[in-house]
Amino acid sequence: MNSTTNIATTGLTKSFGGVRAVDHATVEFQDGKINAVIGPNGSGKTTFFNCVTGMIRPDSGTVSYRGRDVTGKAPHRIAAAGIGRSFQLCRIFPRMTVLENVLAAARPRGVAALLGSARGTAEIERARGWLRRVGIDHLEGVEARDLSYGQQKLLELAGVLMAEPETIMLDEPAGGVNPALIDRIATLVRELNAEGRTFIVVEHNMELVMSLSDHVVVFDRGRPIAEGPPDTVRADPAVLEAYLGV
């Protein structure tokens, strides 16, 4: 591949007590691609995400982002470096309104900006824009905790996007989201990708994965067991055996 490396891990390992959540994972994602990470439940996808985004510290191995080593850096540093992520067990700010939730994700540029107003009209417009694009702008004044589960997932997505990350890691964005909206999210992802953003998406919805991604990595028991373009991966007997189970 001639495109540059986005996130790359070498020998990434994390175990909890007895469980090897991630086991010497050496993976490389390319810039400007839509990458999918699939694998059975408990195969270490989320843990992999957590290690990459600094939520938890890997036992061994390295994580690099665009050539810079970011292993074990604090989450906010990694976020500042340009990686945004959503959580599988949807995390939002329950007692803020939908709009504030998105505003809170806007990253101030420089210390000076810190004391500037958080409610600049420009910022509000951007926030509304994202809400519109994920289709919950009609809820902007509602307290986030009153949203339905799927609405909360969409809200989280909007927040991640508000931070304008270069690289976007989504953990099961389609889980619990209405199919019609899934299509819309897919379109959204494609557009943002076209704008040059890189995606790394964990998803169990095969239809989505196959239609969306350029590159698929398959995890099993914490190890990447196969990777490549969707079709080849889908055909891979190991994958059929470990994951799709047909």
Binding site: N41, Q88, G150
Partner: protein
């Protein structure tokens, strides 16, 4: 199928706190041995329907009947006694208890020890992770694993009416398959199943009847295959292209 539905919701109006109504005169009924699938956009009120049916949320008006008897506004415990079981959406394991405790608690109301043991063995066979991680804290399992434990927990009792809120969410294809197999099996066993799924195609393929819910009302309802075939419906609620299955080609 008996003429009298096992679970029946009549003209339900319900909402949270002082906020506006979520369900606005909604009616659904689930005969024994049938799977009724609720689909609809996020925030349509699907989960709310189930909460009303299981007593978590008392309706402002309307009636809930189980096997003909009126159980409107009863507490969840009473509902369970009446034979209604509910698997919540999202994550509802007891995070700081072991998988073992979680699963056994599923049979909290079951006195008969032998039966409990037998069910445990059964769910452990269904979901390997339940056996493998028997002693670890449920909260530490992966998202999908937790969902599997939850489903396993719900299998510990044998209710008359089962309310499933997106049981396949976050499950890998294998586990999803197992879940739907169980749904089918339970239908065969004569349970009335009210299934909420965003994985709508898969669900409708399993279900007998489908209801499309929006703005707290049932918009369209009918035999699942018909709904699957309806192109406009597919575009609005099911996403992607309508699937053409053997059944609805005939019709």
């Amino acid at each position: 199928m008996s003429d009298q539905p096992l679970l029946e919701l009549r003209d339900i109006e319900a909402g949270y706190g002082r906020a506006a109504l979520v369900l606005r005169g909604l009616s659904v009924s689930v005969p024994a041995g049938t799977v009724v699938c609720l689909v609809g956009p996020n925030g349509a009120g699907k989960s709310t329907v189930l909460k009303v049916a299981s007593g978590l949320l008392a309706p402002r008006s309307g009636a809930v009947r189980v096997a003909g008897q009126d159980v409107t506004g009863l507490s969840p415990q009473r509902m369970l006694a009446a034979g209604v079981a509910h698997v919540l959406q999202g994550h509802s394991v007891f995070p700081e208890m072991t998988v073992a405790e979680n699963v056994t608690l599923g049979a909290y109301t079951v006195a008969d020890k032998a039966r409990v043991a037998e069910r445990i063995a059964f769910v452990q066979d269904l979901f390997p992770v339940v056996r493998e991680r028997w002693r670890s804290l449920a909260g530490l399992l992966s998202g999908g694993q937790q969902k599997q434990v939850e489903f396993a927990r719900s299998l510990m009792v044998s209710p008359k009416v089962l309310l499933l809120d997106e049981p396949s969410m976050g499950l890998d294809p294998k586990a999803t398959a197992v879940v739907f197999e169980q749904v089918v099996a339970m239908r065969e066993a004569g349970l009335a199943i009210l299934l909420v799924e965003q994985n709508a195609r898969r669900a409708l393929e399993t279900a007998d009847l489908g209801c499309v819910l929006d703005l707290g009302r049932v918009h369209i309802s009918g035999p699942a295959p018909k709904l699957l075939a309806d192109p406009q419906l597919a575009e609005l609620y099911l996403g992607g292209r309508p699937t053409v299955t053997s059944e609805n080609r005939l019709s």
